[in-house]
Subunit: 354 residues, 2 copies
């Protein structure tokens, strides 16, 4: 099948556009800056599902009233190692970056910080926040629950969210190690890719509206937990751990009780919870030991023999960094459908189009 035509936009110009649209939609300066950073960086790294294509969604959320465009976010240090950020129903992206800033401040002082976020909303790609920590020299973990879209193990009805887990850690003279994964067997955007190219899904990764396993991407109504029919207790257990960190430890609702991200209600705040952990490596071992060990591990990993000549054994993030280098040079591709959507958005917002 033929590739849809796509346009390339320089990162800076794309950021200009996203920022201006968000400002016109009612986001204040810090909110618009945080959402723009998250979306454009995510698109630059090739994670298109969580990049600028979410812009129309966020515009709807902030104009509808679900998300507060000028939140008054408050931070409370509840114990020496624990902070809680109240996102005041603002953008999850601003909450995420702020939580990491607070986490770094605490970890600088006492080695480790756990920062919970309450009254938040969708924060895009979890990887953005741990990356922000790693770029400043800290290891970090970020998790968030989300509304029901993944079956429980042995279940038939969506219950957990795709509940992402992201982990990053700095690597001397290299881009950070960056893992960002959903705890579902397949990411939702991959299901849509199979649909677009007209191919069957791998077995046991998704289910139809009755909770029966399906390989037809057009019939998918839920995702399976990572591990499939037999070992799905692993993905479901990880999703559960993330529910507990994001909900039981924050006081927010668990995923199955959250209002759906997709609407139709775009007026009511969703009160999403997130959980972040920030670790200062040299609180554990001397910095030189940390650096020697992470380099030895990654070098050994990347030199492993691959299963075919077209493949290489890589570390989490390696693919994203090479896409980012290419897109920084050549621009970020926007497909024809989104080119159209962004043109309409520009007109509606009174913003100079891309």
């Amino acid at each position: 099948m033929k590739q849809a035509p796509s346009f390339r936009v320089a990162k800076k110009e794309l950021a200009r556009f996203v920022y201006e649209v968000l400002r016109k939609a009612g986001a204040d300066e810090p909110s618009a800056r945080a959402v723009t950073r998250a979306l454009v960086d995510t698109s630059a790294m090739g994670v298109d599902s969580h990049g600028v294509r979410l812009l129309p969604h966020y515009v709807k959320a902030v104009t509808g009233g679900r998300v507060c465009g000028s939140p008054n976010m408050g931070f409370e240090r509840r114990a020496p190692a624990v902070g809680c950020l109240d996102a005041d129903n603002g953008f999850g992206h601003l909450a995420g970056f702020r939580a990491i800033d607070h986490g770094i401040e605490i970890a600088e002082e006492i080695g480790v910080a756990a920062v919970s976020v309450v009254n938040s909303s969708h924060f895009g790609a979890a990887g953005c926040y741990v990356l922000a920590a790693a770029e400043r020299g800290y290891a970090a973990l970020a998790v968030s629950n989300s509304d029901a879209f993944v079956l429980p193990h042995d279940g038939t009805r969506p219950f957990h969210g795709t509940n992402p887990l992201a982990f990053a850690t700095p690597v001397p003279a290299q881009k950070p190690y960056l893992l960002d994964m959903a705890t579902s067997a397949i990411p939702w955007n991959r299901v849509q890719q199979y649909l677009t190219i007209g191919e069957d899904l791998p077995p046991e990764v998704a289910a139809d509206g009755l909770g029966r396993s399906t390989t037809d991407p057009a019939r998918v109504a839920a995702l399976a937990p990572l591990g499939g029919a037999i070992f799905g207790y692993k993905g479901a257990g990880l999703a559960g751990m993330i529910e507990i960190l994001s909900s039981a430890l924050t006081g927010m609702l668990h995923g199955n009780a959250l209002l759906p991200m997709g609407g139709p209600d775009f007026a009511t705040p969703r009160h999403v919870g997130h959980f972040f952990l920030v670790l200062r490596p040299d609180a554990f071992v001397p910095q030189a030991v940390y650096e020697e060990r992470i380099l030895a591990y990654l070098a050994n990993l990347r030199e492993q023999p691959s299963s075919s000549p077209e493949k290489r054994v890589i570390a989490p993030g390696d693919r994203e960094w090479s896409v980012e280098a290419e897109r920084t040079s050549n621009g970020i591709p926007i497909d024809a459908a989104y080119w159209e959507i962004f043109a309409e958005l520009a007109e509606r917002s009174g913003v100079t189009p891309l």
Copy 2:
């Protein structure tokens, strides 16, 4: 095929036997107590692969000199939220329980504790340690690397260990939530079960000596990372996160550089690293909020419709707690092969047999 005959032994009698054998092999009182607690509790919960069947292995390790039977474990608080336990090449089980004790002390004071363990050895089931924390009211995470047995994503040679992740959290008036999983697509003991019952493995969970996917349990030389051929980057990424926590943050070697658990060298210490995190729930939210949220989540999970009448949607740990109740009443089954092995061990050790 016919079930091998098995014998039932009361938990207390099994603990007596394991303890005495370990003492005769050279383990001091605290070491023998810790290993006994871990092995017998794990067997009682039905996780037979990591239970008392490891006793002969540990006897070999301590008599061979790999493990020090009377270690002098030192603890250093490196930052307010960070401690490091030097296990002095003693049993990983003693190191694990001690790390949790130190972690609880720190978390009591400042909300969260990260405790790394250096110069350790195999610690059995990671679930034991987080369970010890949950029983005292704390949420906990435990991870450890291990020697190479799992392929990297797109690789052909074992690189990561099965690198387990365990998470537990207290539940009011119920047994704790308890997740304990390897980051491989299938646990090694399940491969052995398929071999015993003469059935083919599910696809894409294991590989032969050349790193090619196989469904023949007799040909398995490596496990696939959780997620299989296409989505194995998830399991491999989790395994990598665990390597980084257990090795880069401890200064120990990564899994692929560790001496193999299975020998032949039983004289050289392996210098395994572990990483524990302990969280005090009421440092995050009032205890009543935590309890209401965890109960609501678990009740909602357990009432989900199941995919067949013989199955139920359960929480991690539920199966283990029901096995534990049954085995506490009826005794812990020891199969005929192990009955024989334990009889020989009793004779060799000069210990009263089971």
